[in-house]
Every structure is written in C-alpha cells, then in structure tokens.
Subunit: 212 residues, 6 copies
C-alpha cells in the first residue's frame, strides 16, 4: 500500500541503509552542485566520522577512474551533501558508497532507481569495506519496499547465514571496489566504464540477478 | 484589535511557525542581500540544526528549478539570514521552507502577504518533510491573525484530527516539494514556474481554497 | 556639575543605554572605517548576541534604504566596532540601533549630539523591537545628563507608566523602523531621507517635542 | 646600580606599567612590521581583553588623525605585537596606549626614551580611559628607574592622593586623547601633529613639567 | 589460505604496522592527489600527533632530496591522506614513513608490493626515529602474510632480541634516513636516487637480503 | 662510545636544550622551506607558548637586521618548524633562539656544528631573555657530547655558581641580542654581519674561548 513512498529520485539522491540504536533505517543521501570556489558543505547533523566519509567519497570521485568522465571542477564548483532528517544525529562510515553514488548520479545527471539501497565503507583508493548491522538494515530495506541492495563483499557471509525470511524480496550485489557499483546503479548504458571483468557482483550465490 | 500587528512584509521577510517549550510562536525569517564574496551570515541565536537548515535553503535556491529565474551570484553576493528576536535561542529544522521562501521573496523582490505563515523541513533535493508541534503552531497562527498556512503534506493527517476550533479561520496548503510553495506565496503571476500539475496543494479536503 | 562628562562625539560615536545587574548604564558605541577586504572587527568583550546585533546593524546599513547615500564598499573596506570599557563583558540585542546609528554617523562623517542616547533591538529588515530595563536605563540617562532618548515604539507603554520623576529632563522619540532615527539623530539636513510620512516619532503623547 | 637595565629602545618597543596579583610590573610592548596580507599576530600569552586592546590600537593608528603621516598599508603589511615574557599570561585593557605608542614608534621609525612608561585603556575613537592599580604600577616604575609616566587624566585624582614617597622621581603626564601622547613620547619634532591646543597634559597640578 | 587478502596496491597505498591496545595491526595508508589550492585533507579519525606526522611527511616530500623528481605543485594541487577504517581512532607518530612512502608512490605513479610493511617516526629533516611495539607489530605482519618489513635502525636491537619464531618469514630493512626507503620499496629502477652508499639497509645481520 | 649519535646537521637543524620534569634533554629544532603562500606550520606536539615562540623567531628573522641577507619571501614561501619527537608534548619559550638559529641556517643554507646547543627566550625586538633549568640542561648537554653552549647573558650568574663538574667540557657563550648568535653558530664567514662590537659573548669569565 505504500508504493507512493517510492518517490522518484532526482539525480543526486540515493538511498542508504543505516543502523541506529532502535534498528535499521532507510536514509537518503542528497547532493547538490553549487557555483563557487571548492567548498564541501555537509549538513544533516553529521558526526565527524560521517563527515570524513563524505570527504573521502568526494576525493574518490575526483581522483578515481570515474573522474575523467565527470564534468566537475573542484576549484570553481562546490558540493553540498545533506542527509535528512536534519534534527537526527548520524555518524559512522557506512554511508561512504552511498555518498559516492549520489555524487556520481548528480555529476552525470542520471538518477538511480528508487528500489535500490546500499551500505558500505569507502576507502580513498576505492575499496569497499564491510560494515555492521546487516540484519537490521535488510529489515529496513524490506519495510521500505527496496528490491536491490548493494553490499560490501566482506558482508556476503553475514547475508548467507540469514534466514530466507530476512532476505525475501531482496536481490544482493556484492562489491570490492566502488567502481563496481556503477553498472549496477546505472544500468542503462550511462555507466562511465564497463563492469570490471573480474567483478562477480552479479553472480552472487543463491540470489537471483537483478535486472537493473 | 491588533490589526496593526500585521506589518506589511518587505521583500525578504516571511512568517514561520515555531514550537517552543511554552507553546507555538509566530517567528519572522528575514533575509538581506549583501555585496561581497559568497558568505552566508546567520544571526538570531540559531542552533546548529537551524543553521544547517538555512544552508540547505540557500543551496536549494541556487541549485533547484527556481535558480535560473533568480539573479543571484553566490560568488559575488552574500546572504544574511536573521530570525528575531536575537536574544532567544532557536533551533530545529522546521523553518527550512520559511527560509527558502524568504530567500525567494528577497531575490525576486516580491513580498509575501502578512496573513501567510508556514512550517516544514526542507531537504536539499526540495522535498518538504513533516514537522512536530502542529496544534501549538496553529494556535499561534490564529492568535496572530494569520489566515493561510503552508504545511508539509506529511502533516495533513495531524491537521485532520484537530477540532474545528483548532483550525478556525485558517486555510491550509499542503506541499510535498518546495517548488509548490511559489504559486501559493506569490499568487500574482510573479511565480517562477507554473504550479506543478500533480500538486494538490489547493484541493485540501475540508478546507476552502485560499484566494492568494 | 559634570557637564564636562559630555565629550563631543566625533563621527562614529553614539551613546547607548544598557542594562546591567547593577542598574542602567550609559555606554558608547564606537565605529571606525579601515581599509582592507571586508572584515568586521568587534571588540569590547561582547557576547554572541551582541556580536550578532552588530552584524545585523552592518548588514542593514549596506542593504537598507540608506545604503545608496553612504560611500561604503564592503569588499574593500572593513569596519571596527568597539564598546568601551574593554574589560567589562557586555551582551544582548539592545544596542542594535546604537550600532546602526554609529555606523551611519561614521560613514556620513556627521556626529550625533552628546545629549542623545538610545536603546532598541534592530532586525535585518529595519524593524525596531522593544527591549527591557527601560526604567533603569532612563535613570542612567538622567544621571549622565542626556536630554533626548530614542526608544522602540514597543516600549512607549513602559515609559507612560513611569512617574514624572523618572522621565524628568528627557524627551522621548519612539521609532518602529530604524530609518526613523536618522532625522532625529542628524537633524541638520544631513539626513539621507525625509522623515517617513507615517512616522509619529515626534508626536509622542505627553512628552514635548525635542527641537533636534 | 641598575642603570644597565635601561636598554635603549629600538623603534617599536615601549614600556608599559601593568598590575599583577603580586604587584606592579614594568612590561615592554614590542612591535614589528612584516610583509604580507594584513595579519595581526599577537604573542605573549595574551588574554582576550588584551588581544582586543591591541586590535583597537592598530585600528586607531590606521583610522585616527595620525594615519595620514604613517606609511602603513594594512592590506599588504602585517603587524606583530609581542609582550615578553612569553610564558606569563597577561590580560586587561590597560596596555592600550602602550601598544598604540609602540605602533607609532615602529611606523615612524623613531624610538621612545627608556625612561618613559605608560598605562591607560584606549578606545577606538582615541579616548584614554582610567585604569586600576596606579599605586602598584608607580612603585614598579620607580624600582625600574622610570622618570616619566603617562597616565589617563581620569587617574589624576588617584595620583594626587598618594604620598610624596610614592611619586618621588616621577613626572606625570595626563592625557584624555591618545594623540596627546605623541608630543610627550616623541618630543624631538618627530610628532605627526602639534600638541592639541586644549590639552593640559603638560600642566599637571603639583608635578613638574617633564622636559621631554 | 587468505592469499586474496593481498590486494594489489594501487599507487598511493602502502601498508603500515601499528600498535593498539589489543595488539599489532596492519593498517593501510592511502593517498590521493586532488586539483585545487594546496590543501591537506586528513581522514580516518586521526589524532593530533598522527595528523602532524602526515604533515611532516608531506613537507619532507616537497622539501627533501626527492622533491625535484616528483611533479607536485603544493600551490595548485591538494593531497588527501586517509587511513581506513574510518570509525577507529588512530594516533601516534609511527606511521610517518608509511605516509611518506604512500605520497612517493602516488606522486611517482608507482605501486609498492603488497608484501611490504613498515613503521617509523619521520622527522622534518628526514631522520627515521625508533618506535614502540615492535614485537606486536611483527606478529601482525606475519599474520597478514607480509614478507618484507622496513624499520628504524634505532629498532634493530629490539628485533635482534626476538626469538626465531617472532621473525620467521620476515626480511628486515633498517633505515636512518627516509631516503633509504626508496630503493627498498621501489626496487625496479623507479627510484629517484641511487641507494645511499653508506646505507647498510640491505646487510642486516642475520636476515637474508630481500630481493625487492 | 656514542659518537655516532652526532649526526651531521643539515641546514635547518639546530640542537636546543630543554627542561622537562624528568630532567634536561637535548632536543632538535628542524626547519624546512615550502613553496606556497606564507603559512607557518608547527609540529611536534607544541604547546601554545612554544608555538608563539616559533612565531616570534620567524617574525624576527624577517624583520630584524638579518632579513636583508636572507632570501625569504613570506608571501610566497612557507616555513615548517618541527621538534621531534612528535608524541612528546613540549612547551615554554626557551627554544626561541634555537628556532631563530634553525631558520637562519635553513635560509642561508649553512649548517651549524653538531657540538653546539643553545637555550634562551627570544623577544620580537631581538633581546635574549634568561630561562630556567640551566643546571639540568647542562647535564643533558654533557651527556650528549655537546661542547659549545649559547646562553642568555641573564643566565651567566646561574652558570658561575655551578661546580666545575657541572660545566666540564662545555664552552659558554652569553648573548643579549639574538644577532650575537650568528658569528658563534656560523663562524666560517657565512655570517650576515660582523660580531657586534660591544658583544662580549666570547670573553666569558672563567670559560675558555671557543674557537668557533
Ligand atoms: Ca518508483
Ligand atoms: Ca518489494
Ligand atoms: Ca496587512
Ligand atoms: Ca484572521
Ligand atoms: Ca556638549
Ligand atoms: Ca540635562
Ligand atoms: Ca638609557
Ligand atoms: Ca630615576
Ligand atoms: Ca600480491
Ligand atoms: Ca609469508
Ligand atoms: Ca660530528
Ligand atoms: Ca665532549
């Protein structure tokens, strides 16, 4: 009954999965591009680790393999990252790949589907590190009608021990490197690069392959 | 007897509804445009969440659909946002759409009517999220002779359960997206864009439509 | 016997009335213009609310109706505001109109009379809001041989309930808008604009009109 | 026996009189001119009030009547003010006129005599306000072989009640305005302006006039 | 069985050995080059000493003997240093040479082998100072399949007292000066300079010489 | 046996003598020159007084008599000062002359001998003030094979009361002014200026004259 909850994402908005003391939650990351000299504005009552996480995502976007395809000039353009809701404090590194994907979506002008959510720590050289609270996060994904979930490969074992109930309706994509997210999140040929040859992100054990 | 309390708003001043420990209050948001390199000055004893809220409104103004119509150059002009009264601490995200509207009014040079008040959290991509304290805020609106109130659609249910007493003399406008505020707050053709086709902000259940 | 206490004010110095725990005091606001890129230097052990108050006054000077008449370029000139005595902490919004008047005096190069004092909160759009401690402030004004006092109109009722003793020797000017201060403080034709038609600042009930 | 303690002052060094919990002390203020964009560097474990005091002195130097005679460009030159000894915290506004005089000495390239000391709060418009601890400060001046002392006129009464013992060997100069210090501290015709006509700084009651 | 844990390092990533309350750990240092005016961005929940350590490494890279060979313009390029994992606080000076090597790898575009790890404090003039926790760090190196370890010569004695068990599978390289790291970490002729003649980093007592 | 501990100093490194709770220590000050707009980077867990001390040394270098001989442009070059070891907090003003000498050595490109150490507070006008802990500092100098020690003349009396044991193997140079250090630390004709005529730094009572 809550199909309306699926707002279409504009470019620059991506759903992340977060873990809080009261359970998992779906949490949007929003990005906007501003004129002006290379600021990074971070709002949403973000803690220091989450702020650093956003900084890493921005540095990776401008220094990684995707950089050449994205028209972004850090010296004359500024980025604003916001995580609603503004009054709720948020922290931790697990939104790293969500911020990266929101920036990619913004700078390419291509939206991601509203049935996609993700969680994972991003490092500066593009590795995706495992995060905690997988079970609670998947519960939140199901509750909010998410159908595709991108996770760090380091969390694959955490998913495989869950019951069929805990993973019902969800397709999983495991990634080692942040570049592997692009063909999953932007499947319509908008990808900057081909899916890496050795990525097995679409052949994940007992889950069906998400059409994209 | 307090018709005089209705000062005419100059461009850049908009009434918001806030919630305090001692009840709801009507609270102006004031904006001014300054020459100089892209500062955002925030005064009025604003807490961190409210400061971030103002930052979001500014980023949305310069990056959203309204941006093209507004002559504002963030690199050579500065914005000052003030919320009187200066000695009273204020916080929370619910003035987001009020700051947005004050900025729009300032940059277009068009005032909003002094019978209009609003409350709602704004996200960076323009969504309007529900806020708390609706009953107390409406009481303040009535006390200060407000006749039109803009609310997040997510608060419509909160209004519909109120008594006729609590909503007497008030017309309600519900919005999902901040752009939907423009034709309501600036009805005289000064709007940047047509009211969105699918906006039902003027067809709100049992309230009459405000003439604008 | 303390006529000598009336130093002639140079341009940029205006007397304000402040309220402290030990009673009202007369307190100068001093302004100076400096070359250099748009700083605002604030000294005098000012608290955050008072610093914001000075910031509002500066923004109002450069964005309000007086701006066109004042040769001030915020991008190449800096302002220093000081409130002696430096070792005494001061706070609150009630020096707002005093700072505004000091800036006006400085930028026009015209002094205000040393028999004039004022108190009132200034908002960014030029409104003058009522302040506290009126009785104590007027006592300080009398003690320091002030003869003309500018007050927010919102404080008129506070004055009208005082005894004849408490107002002896003082002429009162009530203002709604900060622009109304100019013809009172600078009566010799140096005013930027005519007194606003609807201002009743010179027709205040039972007080005699100050010649200016 | 400690005549050697009288180092010749280079331009930019002036002796001040300070008051500490253990009595009065003679304390140098040192100023240096640096290339570079308009910084003010303050060292010597200075408290906030003393830092503001130095800021006021700099603003006064560049905005007061002396400014035209001094080759100082705040936008391309920086000032460093230091108060030895670096490990001893210092605070208060009473070094205001000492910093002013050190800056004047530096920018004119003219030293002050090492027999001169001073104390007094400076305001932004050049007034010199009275300070505390006069008796203790004079004791320190005598101990360190100072012969001329510049004081705020507001402290004249504090001196006049002291015993002959407390003022032995000291000549006093009382000033209302900081400009009156120049002909006292720089008596050899290097003064920017004539002593103000109405200054009585050289006709101070029962003290003999210092030759300068 | 965990050969896959050996990710190939891209240019800019180097393994360090750190000491924590729960033992030694292998910890990557990652560096990225960004356009823009000379910032140094530091992320990874780094404490003040570790931040200073990174600053020293950057200054050494741009001022030491290697500088001429590295195309880096501190005034138009920025450096981002990150130490995963973002949520774990890290501190201390012992990553100094690891940051130096990561910067060298990044700026030369040459990766270091994934079998190499290092620990050592770096000084601004290029000295490598001994650090603590050697035994625990070597245990972590063995656990993570490291085969070559660079250590401060000042730690040579700490290694020589360890049991054969504690050093099994590890080749040791001792350095006094940070320049001596280059031929060890980049053995394929990419080195900026010849191994220093008097360096005995490859003739370390009872360890075999690592082929590079 | 620890002659090797005497690393040759490169230009920019000078030994200082510091006092800690556990006794005196020899402590290097290291300086490096960086391209870029006029920063001063200070590392080594320095306390506020020590940071100010370094700032004073830099200002003195660029404003004192030596400035003309040193090719340093504060607006396009930056200075990094580091005091190993990075994890040990350090504070106090007594490294002032050591920082000055390190900067001089760096900017002239001339090293100081590794048998030289010094301690003394520097003021902005070049005076050298006495410091504490002389006995403990000299013990550290002896332990680390220092043979020449530069001290403030104000500490001469502290040395003269020490036993022959406490000063064995050390030659003392007493200075009033920081410029007097140059011919002592750089005796090979690299000095910017002649030894000041009235300096008696080489004729110190019962110590033999150091050959330089
Ligand atoms: Ca949908
Ligand atoms: Ca579903
Ligand atoms: Ca009206
Ligand atoms: Ca009404
Ligand atoms: Ca008068
Ligand atoms: Ca009177
Ligand atoms: Ca003398
Ligand atoms: Ca004497
Ligand atoms: Ca490998
Ligand atoms: Ca191995
Ligand atoms: Ca040697
Ligand atoms: Ca020796």
């Amino acid at each position: 009954h809550d199909l309306e909850r699926h707002d279409e994402n504009p470019p620059g908005r991506v759903q992340g999965l977060a873990w809080t003391e009261t359970g998992g939650v779906l949490l949007s990351v929003e990005a906007a591009l501003l004129k002006g000299p290379g600021e990074m504005v971070l709002t949403g009552s973000l803690g220091d680790v989450m702020k650093e996480s956003a900084r890493i995502a921005l540095s990776r976007i401008v220094s990684g393999t995707a950089a050449a395809m994205l028209n972004f000039d850090r010296t004359s353009q500024s980025i604003h990252i916001h995580v609603p809701q503004g009054a709720i404090p948020k922290d931790g590194p697990s939104a790293g790949i969500t911020v990266y994907t929101a920036l990619y979506s913004l700078l390419k002008g291509v939206p991601v589907g509203d049935d996609l959510a993700m969680t994972g720590e991003l490092t500066l050289t593009g590795r995706v590190l495992p995060v905690g609270g997988i079970k609670e996060k998947l519960l939140a994904a199901q509750r909010r009608d998410i159908s595709r979930v991108i996770l760090p490969r380091g969390n694959q074992a955490d998913v495989e021990i869950l019951s069929r109930e805990n993973t019902r309706g969800l397709d999983f994509f495991y990634v080692d490197q942040v570049d592997q997210i692009i063909p999953i999140a932007f499947p319509d040929g908008d990808a900057v690069e081909e899916p890496p040859r050795d990525a097995d992100s679409r052949r994940t054990g007992d889950q069906e392959v998400a059409p994209g």
